[in-house]
């Protein structure tokens, strides 16, 4: 595979880098402390088209290729994982509608999502439902032209800011997906604060009590909600998280290298000490490896190759675990200075841990990787003597 970036891809990366340096990095610390991103940032992201990056141009989206979108996520993730999470959930909702929405739903919602006039949020997790994601306890009961939603969704990223939710509920014990506007009657949205990481991601708990949803807001038929609607969204979500982790890796490497260059102990710069060099070397290697895995997965996704799904899980698994190691080592290199609330590396450390959990935990990715790719290796090596 040729991973040399095209001019277009380099352009997107450079633009996103400038945006991150100018608008995100200076204030990301405050957003984390205040658990809030200002609305002006959402407007800027919308004006630049980032919120509709993968939406087809006929609906007002940028129709970016997947590699360009990945590079965008790397740069935004380098500055702030909470901000990058907005790109994740917005795109998840948009892609689900592009693929499985009726023409009416596409015509109505996609231009609004593309411009950022509507913010979307993906609502799968429930208080009793995390990794076992297909067994929704939220129900949708048919009543004439509507379905009545009952249940609770929790830890919903940008739930307090979203105008539109992609909700998964059970219709006659079959997983089903619905688009639910935030102003739907009998929907209560409560803020969740004090999380370990991604503190500015505006998490929410959603409570539905007989919320009426018109049947035309159903995406795909009952029985295909999680398997098809959910999975197309989660697949893309995982890839954006993986790229965001590449951004975290780079940010940790930059911070640790700068500090190790400046700080002296025992008569020499930290970067001259071998055990510090070991940690920096690991960061360099893991950054490069994570980026290559993301490029491979994005390249396969661009070609609509089914092997992209296993590749995406591999990228997410590696990049998120590597980001946590890098952030931990960056804090270690900075020592007590890295533990202060004002240090960026401690924010990366907390955010990196969240990356191991969201869009399918590390353990779920490991299971997926094995289930989707191991048999290919087993069949090729059956005749090898051990």
């Amino acid at each position: 595979m040729n991973f040399e970036l095209t001019k277009e891809q380099k352009k997107w990366a450079e633009q996103a880098s400038d945006f991150t340096n100018q608008y995100i990095i200076p204030d990301a610390h405050h957003w984390d402390q205040n658990e809030m991103i200002p609305d002006t940032i959402f407007s800027l992201l919308g004006k630049l088209g980032y919120l509709g990056a993968l939406i087809p141009s006929k609906y007002g989206g940028l129709e970016m290729d997947i590699i360009s979108f990945g590079l965008l996520n790397e740069e935004i993730g380098r500055g702030c994982s909470s901000t990058r999470s907005l790109l994740t959930v917005q795109t998840m909702v948009g892609l689900a509608i592009v693929k499985w929405g009726s023409q009416e739903l596409r015509d109505y919602w996609l231009p609004l999502l593309a411009s950022g006039e509507v913010l979307g949020s993906f609502a799968l997790t429930e208080p009793e439902l995390g990794s076992d994601a297909a067994k929704h306890q939220t129900t949708a009961t048919k009543k004439s032209e509507h379905y009545l939603l009952n249940g609770v969704k929790t830890y919903i990223t940008f739930g307090t800011k979203a105008d539109l939710f992609l909700i998964f509920a059970s219709v006659d014990n079959k997983s089903t997906a619905f688009l639910v506007p935030a102003n739907t009657p009998n929907l209560t949205i409560e803020s969740i604060n004090g999380m370990l990481g991604c503190r500015a991601a505006s998490l929410a708990k959603l409570t539905f009590i007989d919320c009426p949803i018109h049947r035309e807001n159903m995406l795909a038929r009952p029985g295909f909600g999680f398997s098809h609607v959910g999975n197309i969204a989660l697949n893309n979500g995982r890839l954006t998280v993986a790229w965001g982790c590449v951004g975290i890796l780079r940010a940790c490497l930059d911070s640790a290298m700068a500090y190790a260059h400046k700080r002296e102990q025992f008569g020499k710069q930290l970067k001259e000490h071998q055990l510090i060099q070991e940690m920096l070397t690991n960061m360099i290697t893991h950054y490069r490896a994570a980026k290559l895995l993301c490029l491979e997965a994005s390249h396969l996704a661009n070609k609509h190759n089914h092997q992209s799904i296993g590749a995406i899980s591999t990228a997410k698994y590696f990049a998120s675990t590597a980001a946590l190691r890098a952030a931990s080592d960056a804090v270690q290199i900075l020592g007590a200075n890295g533990c202060r609330s004002t240090a960026t590396v401690q924010r990366f450390f907390r955010d990196a841990k969240i990356m191991e959990i969201i869009e399918g935990s590390t353990q779920i990715q490991q299971q997926l990787i094995f289930n989707l790719t191991a048999k290919e290796y087993l069949k090729k090596r059956q005749n090898i003597e051990v």
């Binding site: 038929r221 398997s227 098809h228 999975n231 197309i232 089914h306 992209s308 799904i309």
Partner: protein, 85 residues
């Protein structure tokens, strides 16, 4: 583009499915749902494979279990989609 025969299509589908099964062979009527093969992890892979391999696009109305039930059902669906587009 070369037109594939029904036999070619079934062969390609079977090759793909067997890559993920611990079986040497399955019949064209092997029930993929009853055996739990078409679980959520495999579902999107199957859709992606069928779309790219046979130049068809699945849409909302195409999501019916009967279109994915067996190799024969999938083949019939592909031929239908190819004739419609």
């Amino acid at each position: 583009m070369t037109t594939l025969t029904e036999i070619d299509i079934k062969k390609q589908i079977k090759t793909f499915i067997l890559a993920y099964l611990s079986l040497e062979d399955i019949s064209d009527d092997y029930d993929l749902f009853e055996t739990g093969l078409v679980n959520s992890a495999f579902a999107m892979q199957l859709v992606t494979f069928l779309e790219s391999e046979f130049a068809i696009t699945f849409q909302n109305d195409d999501l019916e279990i009967k279109n994915f039930q067996s190799i024969r059902c999938i083949c019939d669906f592909i031929l239908y989609k190819q004739n419609v587009t």
